[in-house]
């Protein structure tokens, strides 16, 4: 195998550098073989043995396309430079190699699964990338900020080190905020037997608390019976799924789903986040042995689609001017919500300008798959490698990009900023709050 020519600016990531200094080759060999022998099976070997090294997957990947078709960013190269070597050498590799594996798998691939659609055999490169991440995680080779986020999940069961009292306090404060718009709005905590448990991701109470106020208004206007837990289990996000720490991933998912069972709800509705949907709908349940979540989970896009389509929420005034939307990979390519996203966008926007390519073929925002959580050291290359999507956004001429996913939201803000696009970035619920009709009887009474 010819070595890949890799040109990268050096990046200092303290955690990875320290891990490189600490790891022994015996430890590395043991973990690689353990993961390959005990945690993988037919799926991995089918992919490895089926790949004909044709490179067709390269044209699917925004990393490759945004970096002047540098082959070191091609999907198949990401496997060639990691797993193939591990398998060929039967795990006898050194710490510098493991560090490079982490760099490739954690910081240069979003596990977005676009390449799998372009491979003639449907080989799921992203699955293999997660195997590489699993090996790295067990060895402690994870970028600093991603690992810190996983530690937050492990310690607090949420992504942002939010303490139990801060969570409840924020909900109570946002209930008051919502009552400014709709005085009878309530954010019901711990209401056993409600129809819906609403769950969100850590950044909402930490930085974007107004989204909790917005949903309180939306639920009231739609007349829904809902609740939020006042205990851990409220956070549906899961960066442990992306670092490769599957035990913490499972613990977080178990708590989320058991909280819904404890509250005896009929369904979980989750806020606008893509990876959280993947963790809660697929990866978490699979690890736990559940075919699907014991209490069904509905992504915000499908939830808003139902509310608008059924007329429970009416649109008073559409938002003016051209608006586009990012298609979050985990709920569009991987869960088929593209047409529902276009429906709700058209329902609230006067001029919805679609992205090209769109739907299942849309490109990743380049923040997904845990890459944005790798933090500031890796930001430059991440934004640089989103060049293609920045051009796609620019072409729409939109004044606002809607991102029905938290990772997309932060990633697209970085794109707008980095490429000076001069566009706003909003969640769908922010548009809905602006556009929806608040029935007369729910409006604040004039003094």
């Amino acid at each position: 195998m010819k070595p890949t020519i890799v040109k990268r600016e050096p990046v200092v990531d303290e955690a990875m550098d320290q891990c490189e200094a600490r790891l022994t080759e015996e430890e590395i060999e043991k973990v690689i073989n353990e993961v390959i022998d005990k945690e993988t099976g037919g799926r991995l070997w089918t992919y490895i043995n089926t790949c004909i090294h044709c490179g067709l997957c390269a044209e699917a990947c925004h990393w490759y396309l945004s970096n002047d078709r540098d082959v070191s960013f091609a999907p198949v190269t990401k496997i060639k430079d990691t797993l193939w070597v591990m398998l060929e050498k039967k795990g006898k590799v050194d710490a510098a190699f493991i560090k490079r594996c982490s760099q490739i798998s954690h910081t240069e691939c979003n596990a977005c699964r676009r390449c799998g659609m372009y491979c003639p055999f449907g080989i799921d490169i992203a699955y293999m990338i997660l195997v590489v991440r699993r090996i790295c995680a067990k060895l402690g080779m994870v970028p600093l900020y991603l690992q810190d986020t996983v530690h937050s999940h492990a310690a607090t069961m949420n992504q942002m080190w939010v303490k139990p009292d801060e969570w409840i306090d924020t909900l109570q404060w946002q209930e008051e905020e919502a009552q400014g718009y709709v005085p009878s709005a309530r954010l019901p905590l711990e209401k056993e037997g409600a129809e819906i448990m609403y769950s969100v991701i850590g950044p909402e109470p930490k930085f974007l608390a107004q989204l909790l106020g917005n949903i309180t208004v939306i639920m009231k206007v739609a007349g829904l019976d809902w609740t939020m837990p006042a205990t851990a289990g409220w956070d549906n996000s899961n960066m442990a799924m992306y670092s490769g720490d599957f035990e913490i991933m499972a613990r977080v998912e178990r708590l989320h789903h058991e909280t819904a069972q404890r509250l005896k709800v009929k369904k979980i509705v989750m806020g606008e986040c893509g990876h959280a949907f993947r963790g809660a709908e697929y990866d978490g349940p699979t690890w736990m042995g559940w075919m699907k979540p014991p209490i069904p989970i509905v992504h915000a896009i499908a939830f808003y689609y139902d509310l608008i389509k059924s007329g429970r929420i009416k649109i008073a005034k559409k938002i003016e001017g051209p608006i586009t939307s990012q298609y979050p990979c985990n709920v569009i390519r991987n869960a088929g919500l593209g047409s529902k996203l276009r429906y709700i966008m058209s329902a609230v926007c006067e001029d919805f300008v679609d992205l090209i390519p769109n739907d299942r073929h849309a490109f990743c925002c380049n923040a997904g798959g845990g890459t944005i959580n790798c933090g500031p050291p890796w930001k430059k290359i991440r934004v640089q490698s989103a060049k293609l999507q920045s051009e796609n956004f620019k072409r729409t001429g939109a004044h606002t990009i809607v991102t029905p996913c938290h990772n997309c939201h932060s990633g697209v803000e970085d794109i707008v900023d980095g490429y000076k696009l001069g566009m706003h970035v909003k969640f769908f619920s922010e548009l809905l709050i602006e556009a929806m009709e608040i029935p007369e009887h729910l409006k604040p009474k004039e003094e």
């Binding site: 955690a15 005990k38 945690e39 995680a137 067990k138 402690g140 600093l144 900020y145 690992q147 810190d148 530690h151 492990a154 310690a155 607090t156 303490k163 139990p164 009292d165 409840i168 306090d169 109570q172 008051e176 009552q179 005085p183 009878s184 309530r186 019901p188 905590l189 711990e190 209401k191 056993e192 037997g193 006042a230 851990a232 720490d245 035990e247 499972a250 613990r251 069972q261 005896k264 009929k266 699979t286 736990m288 042995g289 559940w290 075919m291 699907k292 014991p294 933090g375």
Partner: protein, 422 residues
């Protein structure tokens, strides 16, 4: 159930509150709670902007508060709630507030007799456990409290707490250990990466938790002392009900889940998943929710799984009082089912609450939900009317009667029905 013998088991029916009237009287009425003996029903009510009270049976608390939440009856029938006055929080008990105010207070817990009320509190950003208004002194500053328990006699309090402050993205500090267990205000000597699944023996003598020692290494600690064995993962431990030196927990080894007692694997079979180990009341048997294969859930009793399996999930098993029968609620094809000793009993429901056995094991009584209404089901068949709200049935200590509390046409009834009649 505290003092269950002295509850009113004679009155056949009492209408204790017309909750429909609450809706006319107050701006908003929250979901109701009842006392253990069923004699009181309470709802938080909104009486104006930033003004709340609690309606209890036919009256309300004297004083309204800015905010009220988490109204819960203590086992002795006193009504507690967390309230704010001038933007500070405290506990109110039957309308009377504790003197001390807190930055925050939450997670109310009671001793078995209800005399002791404990909660997690925060003052000046320092966390503590407060018991009957007195915050337990702690030699280290607690940075956070994840969960707490108190012994049935209320004498022992234990909490999982962050005992070491951490800077931003301090991976080394985290891996050195920043969490521990605080017992009656005194932290255990060692700190751990993570601590989960806090459990206390019935006699309050022993405390067990799961702990994480490094990224992928887990174990069980009993009174600070780790089991010798470490595992790839663990779930929360449980104590033998009669012998507090015996502790059992699900543990993960070689990609499968096993049951371990005091560190030793005790069931021969490994499972794809294993949750909720539960001892029989005499401690002679253990049942657990298991998945022998992916998405095939059942109950294993003493390691032997039932032959029937369910596609979606199964909940915590429940032994009959004599320990001979086991019931569990399972979900299959979107329906909840009552399963007893490996056989589905009766119909499918939209929801089923924790099963209750009759003393001679022949009846399993549950609160169930169908088409938005609640009912009492016996052996999986609906026996009593539809209710707008309903609570879990309680069997009398002599085993002859059942207390059923529910709201019908807006009225809250406490009924005592002969077991033979349902």
């Amino acid at each position: 159930m505290f003092n269950i013998e002295s509850w009113d088991w004679e009155s056949k029916e009492k209408m204790l509150a017309d909750t429909a009237k609450w809706k006319d009287k107050f701006e908003d009425v929250w979901e109701p709670y009842i006392s253990q003996d069923g004699e009181k029903i309470a709802s938080i009510v909104k009486i104006g902007e930033g003004e709340h009270n609690i309606a209890v049976n036919e009256g309300t608390w004297e004083e309204p508060f800015e905010k009220i939440w988490y109204s819960r009856f203590s086992p002795d029938g006193r009504l507690t709630a967390l309230i704010t006055k001038d933007m500070e929080w405290t506990m109110a008990v039957d309308g009377k507030t504790w003197e001390q105010m807190y930055e925050y207070i939450w997670d109310t817990k009671f001793s078995a007799d209800g005399k002791i009320i404990a909660a997690t509190t925060k003052v000046d950003s320092v966390y503590g456990i407060t018991i009957n208004e007195k915050t337990l002194e702690c030699p280290v500053q607690l940075e956070s409290i994840a969960s707490h328990v108190i012994s049935p006699d209320g004498k022992i309090s234990a909490a999982i707490a962050q005992t070491v402050p951490l800077g931003q993205a301090d991976l080394d500090g985290f891996l050195k250990g920043s969490w521990s267990v605080v017992v009656n205000g005194k932290p255990w000597k060692n700190n751990f990466v993570d601590v989960y699944g806090l459990t206390m023996s019935n006699d309050g003598k022993n405390i067990a938790v799961e702990y994480r020692d490094s990224i992928c290494e887990y174990g069980i600690l009993v009174n600070e002392k780790p089991w010798n064995e470490k595992f790839a993962c663990t779930w929360e431990p449980v104590f033998h009900p009669k012998n507090s030196d015996e502790i059992t927990a699900p543990v993960r080894q070689w990609g499968q889940w096993f049951l371990a007692t005091n560190g030793r694997i005790v069931w021969d079979n490994g499972f794809y998943s294993l949750l909720y180990p539960t001892y029989s009341p005499d401690g002679n048997n253990i049942a657990a929710a298991v998945a022998p294969q992916f998405a095939k859930w059942t109950i294993a009793v003493n390691g032997q799984p039932w032959s029937v399996t369910f596609g979606e999930c199964i909940q915590k098993p429940c032994f009959s009082p004599d320990g001979r029968k086991v019931a569990a609620i399972a979900k299959d094809k979107g329906n909840w089912l009552l399963v007893v000793d490996g056989a589905v009993l009766g119909e499918a429901f939209d929801n089923i609450w924790e099963p209750v056995f009759s003393p001679n094991d022949d009846k399993v009584i549950c609160k169930v939900e169908k088409n938005g209404k609640y009912a009492i089901a016996v052996n999986g068949k609906i026996r009593r009317n539809d209710y707008e709200a309903l609570w879990n049935p309680v069997v009398s200590p002599d085993g002859t009667k059942v207390m059923i509390c529910g709201v019908e046409d807006g009225k809250y009834y406490r009924k005592v029905v002969p077991l033979s009649d349902i």
